[in-house]
């Protein structure tokens, strides 16, 4: 009969409508802002800087290498290097950023800055309720607003933070091993120089003009 399929269609609508009173997966609307969905672990909104420990200035991992500034597609990062240096997480003296601004009205959340950073210092945040009424200054996040502690990073992205901490720990171990090897080599070189000076002083008596020092025996390895 004419209209039979329309009635079948309305039966589907009725099933969905009355079914939403009965079963949870027919009622799919989340009443924001009273109810909120939990963000997924990988969600990316805007970047933030990580610092270790409690002090945002001393523990900042960023060394102002400006790689993220160059690779950023819409060029929204602005870095000014400092003139002096401070020690980084490996103990080496590195430059740090005096100014690190991200303009989040330009940022397109592509996370290329996170991918190319070699120092695990810039990561993606998941805060998106950042609206303000000041179009230029309100959407320009400065270093103070961007720096967040490592504990915050572990809270929002547990798996990524675990991987990042593992990378940093490995780097620290490598740097310590290198430093130890360098210290051992230096100590050995000092000992050899001292031995050379001792044999030179013993061979030539006091008062005679200094002769060519004898070649030291090859160090037994």
């Amino acid at each position: 009969m004419l209209g039979e399929q329309i009635i079948k269609g309305m039966a589907v609508t009725a099933k969905n409508f009355f079914g939403s009173y009965v079963s949870k997966d027919r009622l799919t609307t989340v009443q924001y802002p009273e109810e909120r969905l939990t963000p997924k672990e990988n969600t990316r909104q805007f970047p933030f800087l990580v610092f270790d420990g409690d002090d945002a200035e001393k523990g900042l991992r960023c060394v102002a290498c400006q790689i993220c500034e160059k690779e950023c597609p819409p060029q929204c990062i602005y870095i000014v290097k400092s003139k002096d240096k401070k020690p980084d997480y490996k103990g080496q003296m590195q430059v740090f950023p005096v100014t690190f601004d991200i303009d989040i009205s330009v940022c397109m959340s592509c996370s290329i800055c996170v991918e190319v950073c070699p120092f695990e210092s810039i990561k993606m945040n998941n805060e998106f309720e950042l609206s303000t009424d000041d179009r230029f200054k309100g959407l320009l996040l400065t270093k103070k607003e961007l720096a967040k502690p490592n504990s915050y990073y572990q809270q929002i992205h547990p798996q990524d933070a675990k991987d990042s901490d593992a990378v940093i720990a490995a780097e620290i171990v490598k740097a310590e091993a290198k430093a130890k090897a360098a210290a051992e080599a230096k100590a050995k070189a000092d000992a050899e120089a001292k031995a050379k000076a001792a044999t030179a002083a013993a061979a030539a008596p006091v008062g005679t003009p200094p002769a060519n020092p004898p070649t030291p025996p090859p160090a037994a390895k």
Binding site: Q5, I6, G9, T13, T28, N42, T43, P73
Partner: protein, 386 residues
């Protein structure tokens, strides 16, 4: 330079004594419109309710993406390609990555190929679902089928968010693989979503396929013949609805599509009902491909560990790479001069070229049909204007 012409000089009909009968009405179905699928304008000249002339006006979303591509590096263009056809960001990424891999001769590991096929077919599913929702809404079913379609689409977008971090602007493919690997939990969830999709499609088809209103408004409206379609460079579901068997997944066999068994649905007359049914059947075929890919995905790396992200400089040369995106043939033409950015970066947009015959399809029809015909062409303004 040819000066801008003042368009739409149309002469009205004259009766025997030479006086014009009635008046022709020029309206602009303007950029602010709930049903033109974006900021798209059509200058329509009407005689009563019948369309006498129709000229589409483009450029309201022109962001000159091609020039941006010439100034930034190859990697930095990848997030911009997400924003071309903003419904199907995964296939846009894949087309660009495929072109660059062809240019530089990079090989892709097998697991990455399977993941790319899974992402592309999920994209096709969610694109066709939301398109059918829009199509039926344009006809007057104010929102109900669209909301059901979006409810299912959200499940697929949740999958994308878990894997890449963003629902729509995924920025997921890289040159030589994909960015992150899929976990077993993600694959299990995808299997569940794909399994439930068949049931949803059954309910949806009961709802719509033989609905008398849909049949009355779409059958016999705006047919497109095979020769017209081929000559106007139409690709995608529109071409297959006209009866031409040309699907790039079968013709070019890019990626690993030759390993999967699927059919290519073809229409007969190319009218609106054929286009709707071709899309529904393509969704069923996508579910088949997804089941095969999810069952056969191997273990392994997803990216060459020695590939460098920064400082990518392919050798000089030019290449044209194309894939079957849900809207049609999406192609990238890149001329490289050995530097860090391309010399010429061109996107061949399917939606833009599919609009070539819009005027021919609409002439002689009523105003209400214009909206539905535009809906069946399936345009996304991000791609039309770039």
């Amino acid at each position: 330079m040819i000066a801008a012409q003042k368009p739409f000089e149309v002469t009205p009909k004259l009766d025997e004594s030479g006086t014009p009968i009635g008046e022709l009405l020029e309206i602009s179905m303007g950029p602010h419109h709930p049903s033109t699928h974006g900021v798209f304008r059509m200058d329509v000249t009407l005689d009563g309710e019948t369309v006498v002339k129709l000229k589409p006006v483009f450029g309201y979303l022109h962001r000159n993406h091609e020039k941006i591509g010439e100034n930034i590096s190859y990697l930095a263009t990848m997030p911009y390609t997400d924003r071309l056809d903003y419904f199907c960001s995964m296939t846009n990424n894949w087309a660009y990555a495929l072109t660059i891999e062809k240019l530089a001769g990079l090989a892709v590991p097998e697991r990455a190929e399977y993941i790319r096929v899974i992402m592309a077919e999920l994209t096709r599913l969610q694109n066709h679902t939301s398109l059918i929702g829009f199509f039926v809404q344009d006809m007057g079913a104010l929102g109900t089928p669209m909301m059901y379609a979006f409810r299912e689409r959200e499940k697929i977008l949740d999958l994308f968010e878990e894997i890449s971090g963003a629902r729509m602007m995924c920025n997921y493919m890289r040159f030589g693989g994909v960015r992150v690997d899929t976990s077993d939990a993600w694959l299990a969830q995808t299997k569940k979503v794909v399994g439930d999709y068949g049931k949803f499609l059954d309910e949806f088809e009961v709802f719509l396929n033989e609905n008398e209103i849909l049949l009355a408004r779409t059958q016999g409206v705006a047919p497109l013949s095979k020769e017209q379609a081929i000559n106007a460079s139409i690709t995608g579901p529109l071409l297959r609805a006209a009866g031409v068997n040309y699907d790039l997944r079968k013709v070019d066999k890019y990626g690993i599509y030759s390993r999967f068994e699927f059919k290519v649905p073809l229409g007969e007359t190319g009218d609106l009902y054929d286009r709707y049914m071709v899309r529904v059947l393509e969704m069923r075929e996508s579910i088949k491909i997804l089941n095969q890919a999810l069952a056969g995905i191997p273990a392994g790396p997803v990216m060459d560990p020695k590939a460098k992200l920064r400082g990518f400089r392919p050798k000089a040369g030019e290449v044209y790479g194309r894939i079957e995106s849900p809207k049609g043939e999406l192609g990238f033409y890149i001329i490289s001069d050995g530097g860090p950015s391309p010399y010429r970066y061109r996107i061949r947009p399917p939606s833009y070229i599919n609009l070539t015959t819009l005027e021919d399809m609409c002439l002689g029809r009523k105003v209400a049909d214009v909206i539905v015909i535009l809906g069946s062409v399936d345009i996304v303004l991000g791609e039309v204007d770039r």
